[in-house]
Symmetry: D3
Subunit: 252 residues, 6 copies
Amino acid sequence: MTDSPLLKPSPPRPSGRRANQLRDVRITRHYTKHAEGSVLVEFGDTKVICTASIAERVPEFLRGREQGWLTAEYGMLPRATHTRSDREAARGKQTGRTQEIQRLIGRALRSVFDLNALGARTLHIDCDVIQADGGTRTASITGAFVAAHDAVGKLLAAGKIAQSPVKDFVAAISVGVFEGAPVLDLDYDEDSQCDTDMNVVMTGAGGFVEVQGTAEGAPFSRDEMNELIALADSGIKALILKQKEALGIQGV
Amino acid sequence: MTDSPLLKPSPPRPSGRRANQLRDVRITRHYTKHAEGSVLVEFGDTKVICTASIAERVPEFLRGREQGWLTAEYGMLPRATHTRSDREAARGKQTGRTQEIQRLIGRALRSVFDLNALGARTLHIDCDVIQADGGTRTASITGAFVAAHDAVGKLLAAGKIAQSPVKDFVAAISVGVFEGAPVLDLDYDEDSQCDTDMNVVMTGAGGFVEVQGTAEGAPFSRDEMNELIALADSGIKALILKQKEALGIQGV
Amino acid sequence: MTDSPLLKPSPPRPSGRRANQLRDVRITRHYTKHAEGSVLVEFGDTKVICTASIAERVPEFLRGREQGWLTAEYGMLPRATHTRSDREAARGKQTGRTQEIQRLIGRALRSVFDLNALGARTLHIDCDVIQADGGTRTASITGAFVAAHDAVGKLLAAGKIAQSPVKDFVAAISVGVFEGAPVLDLDYDEDSQCDTDMNVVMTGAGGFVEVQGTAEGAPFSRDEMNELIALADSGIKALILKQKEALGIQGV
Amino acid sequence: MTDSPLLKPSPPRPSGRRANQLRDVRITRHYTKHAEGSVLVEFGDTKVICTASIAERVPEFLRGREQGWLTAEYGMLPRATHTRSDREAARGKQTGRTQEIQRLIGRALRSVFDLNALGARTLHIDCDVIQADGGTRTASITGAFVAAHDAVGKLLAAGKIAQSPVKDFVAAISVGVFEGAPVLDLDYDEDSQCDTDMNVVMTGAGGFVEVQGTAEGAPFSRDEMNELIALADSGIKALILKQKEALGIQGV
Amino acid sequence: MTDSPLLKPSPPRPSGRRANQLRDVRITRHYTKHAEGSVLVEFGDTKVICTASIAERVPEFLRGREQGWLTAEYGMLPRATHTRSDREAARGKQTGRTQEIQRLIGRALRSVFDLNALGARTLHIDCDVIQADGGTRTASITGAFVAAHDAVGKLLAAGKIAQSPVKDFVAAISVGVFEGAPVLDLDYDEDSQCDTDMNVVMTGAGGFVEVQGTAEGAPFSRDEMNELIALADSGIKALILKQKEALGIQGV
Amino acid sequence: MTDSPLLKPSPPRPSGRRANQLRDVRITRHYTKHAEGSVLVEFGDTKVICTASIAERVPEFLRGREQGWLTAEYGMLPRATHTRSDREAARGKQTGRTQEIQRLIGRALRSVFDLNALGARTLHIDCDVIQADGGTRTASITGAFVAAHDAVGKLLAAGKIAQSPVKDFVAAISVGVFEGAPVLDLDYDEDSQCDTDMNVVMTGAGGFVEVQGTAEGAPFSRDEMNELIALADSGIKALILKQKEALGIQGV
């Protein structure tokens, strides 16, 4: 990839990583004790607590249908970031950015869940960033899948559902154009200076669930997009191996 | 495009359009009388009023810097849609969807504006949907560019700025996979049944500003994505011609 | 009227209209396609989209009673006015002025509706000002009646109700004391300088539904009030003819 | 008045009052100790605490102009009424009715205040209903004038202003058509059953500041309106005598 | 008490009261006419209207259980205080202080109510301060008990409940360390300068329901706490006598 | 203590702890990397992240005075608890409980800070519960002190302040009457069943900053209160040793 004739050779990354190198990824299950699924996911210095909670009810718009629901919320501790942000609960509303991210997490996970197989219950995903260093939404999706998988495991073990509603794995990674070169898994230093930032969500089978690319500076070209997509694809394959390893399984 | 070996031949679209055919696009300038720029943009039955208003001040975070700002808000009349939605002003907050769209419009337009050349003033873009039939965000971006261009023209004519802050054209279109085939410019009937929905924002020079693809049903493949991007590229070229025609100019 | 011994001869109006002359009034039915009733009403440069939407449910306080409800909401596009106003949805609440107007519209329309004949359903009126030049509330009431009449027509045509709940016509107009003389149908230039501003709502049978007079400057006298009421009466008669013409009917 | 040939003879009122008879009106000055002006006003069983507070600053829109401001707020204790209402502070917003009333109180008082003579300060009027039996807004205006007069008296006594900004007296009363007959000063029993309800605000010189008439049931006629206005006029004259008596003065 | 060897002799209090002397306490029943229980309680210049309203329903979390509920809300008129405070209803939320106080009032009253004996209904307590001079929360609890007792009396008289749910009396008082000496029933002058402020809620049987002591300045010692508790105990005994006297009874 | 003649011998605690035994207390400094002070505090299974952030500005009410401020906010992850709670940011407001706790944390810390010595800056304390098992407010105060101490250390090290504003240590613990016997440091099992719950905040010098005791069931007696206070005193001494140990110092 780095020998593409179209792009400049990759300049040194602030972290010293290679262009296609993920940060250290750690997935710790059973991180807190009350939730049906609870995971601490770390992409380098980005740390997110992802919990999956089961509620034996469904939202109003699904009443009377034999179908479940999965929804996600996202938050950040006020001092997860370099400078303190206002606490959303104190301000009385979530920012547009927060809403965008939690909608993305929900869509990503629903793409691999069979909501009929879940029965008339809701899976609440909560992703709370305790330390931010870029990539909080991609870490959230990657960790939340494992938490949701654990929660579903409890339903299966308790005999509440007969078969797993999990149809496939799902994970997410960011890619971007940093100093003219495509790189994988942007940290904060890169994210705050990059020209293009793209978040990609893919399934274990290699299908795309979401592609969200934004030119922060100069617009990006078709070739850059192709390079970025290829990088993301390799990163997500590695993340899904991490998920499988954490769950101690070989496949779904 | 329809002879791609990878994809099924395009099925008939509900509207009878060809796969790569836009709806009738109409851009009416000077639609309302008070705003510095005011456009009614129509993508078929989707109708959006886009205004650009100039304020001689900048947000707090830019105080004291010789730089302008451009920001966008989006709304929909309660009965712009098939069934009436709650009025956001009465509910007391904007939905996540609304916030997502208005953030997208703002980023799209800022990508082609030189905010230094704008001086210490703010360009407020308002996109209000009076009738919705799919593609309201892409119509908004396409119409808002023309309204912003008109507003800037007033600043130039009044001698308030010496050169135009407009660096390039920008327009947006949706593409999607409908019954297995990629199609351009989804209307509501298609949008509500499609597997993949992608919104693409591009500049006059052909650079990508935003690519937002979502698998509503089955994940999409790399090949599908390539087909969709190509369709979007052709659609945006046509939209930018419409913008130029409306503005009575040949280039920026 | 202009030869009243009590009042000064009417000075020239900014618009050149005679004291008892309405602006051009246009009522365009079927303006948008989704609503059961949809009207663009124009009083000169004041333009309001009025829709009437039928919902097959009633508010909580009417549950279990065989009666319908009619309620109204009002809004203004941020740049409908000379200078841009904050978007109410973004601010998170409606102004007192907005609430006052939408309550007035609701009361005005309910005065000519037999809510028992409507059955257990709600008629939602939405009045959204796309261009403001004075008299937005009176234009709203006048247009909303036509939209509601159309919505009711659909219920009748569908056999959902056996007889029309519309008991009479209703319309509204503003009158005021401008430079010492009573004038009909104030536009923005007059409204912003007048001493007294009065909004009057009347039925086709000539009964008063609302009279709201406010002294913006000097208090007004009993004689002035009488002159204003007479002007309003003549204006509303003309408006109801416009409504009948738009609906293509001779009476209720 | 009751011998009008146009109207039915006045039926017995629930309270036994004559058609043109006010309830017992009591105005108690210096009711609470902190406010610059503090009045308990009672219209029969309707009891409102009206305070006038002086703040040595003006709202944003008046900054830098040598002019004062007068603004009013209105509230009701949750159990001032027959059945308990939600506390607005707990619900997190004021109702449309509350906003309508406080805007009315503010306009009424501003009509008799010379805001230039007040200097760069704000007079905050607070009207809080501790017991409601109809006519809370008219009692509020009538009592608030006395509180504001007292507050202004303190400014004069302290030498902060050289001349009184009070240009005239102002008071308010309700009138209505109860069982077909016009009556003065509606109490709750009448208000909840009347066909027409009209609130009238007038100055000491007999000018109209506000006339707000609403047909709750059948529309009202020109003759009824004339009768109501005459009743209101007589009632306000009596109220202004009460204000003068309370203030121990003969005129302004 | 003032001869304690541990504490300095009590300095003169601003009000001239002895260290263990309450202000004049007055409890006026039937203060407003609509509520099932309505009391004006005065602790010197602190005046609070306490009403108790009965609703024949229970909150969601008690549905289907044969149990009642008691809840309290607290408010202050904007100019109950030395300088005007913002109206909470206008600001759109209650302060933390307000919430703290209303939660305290609710807990205090529930401690002496048998909610099973109340049946499936809710007792709403509203405490609204019309004049503040320190001790508004303790006056509120003391007055609210009498209002609640009256409301319960109406249920008993109407045969809606067979036995009183009132298990004991409850009252509250503040104590504090003022210029080094413990004093009873702080007024505003003392409260704003004291080192320690403690609110104590006790039952007729002498049990503690709440003890909330805060060091505003220097921390307080164990001995000071003991002195304060003893003072509070004597004050509450006196308040409960006042409650009994107001209710015209000898015991519960 | 357990041989008090007044109280029943202490029954077995669910956790098997002795009546006067704290849970395992762990204080981990430098827990997250961005904040000037960052501590994970654990009282058994209760885990709270406490950060202290320095802002070079003060709130409006302190403008122009050479004094600093310290303020605290508190939150809980939605699934920190046995069953998921609503996210306060999504609901749009903080509960009364949250506000009570964060006000308590702020008061507790301010009691040992010399705000003049802090200079014109604000210390923001954030306490976010990631796992709750009783005692979250006492753990928060205990951990927040260490975080604040670290933040102040950075100011001293950077030469921004000449002397430490920290006047003394401060810590907090809960005590309660569980099955008739006083016990120290209630966990969730005890907290949810206890009759009396008391939170005590004390300084290193042994002074009381806050005492908040509530009878959840039966009122508590003077003797019980004395026992509880003695237990709290011993617990806080142990906590302050833990704080000193974590900070690696012998005194302030």
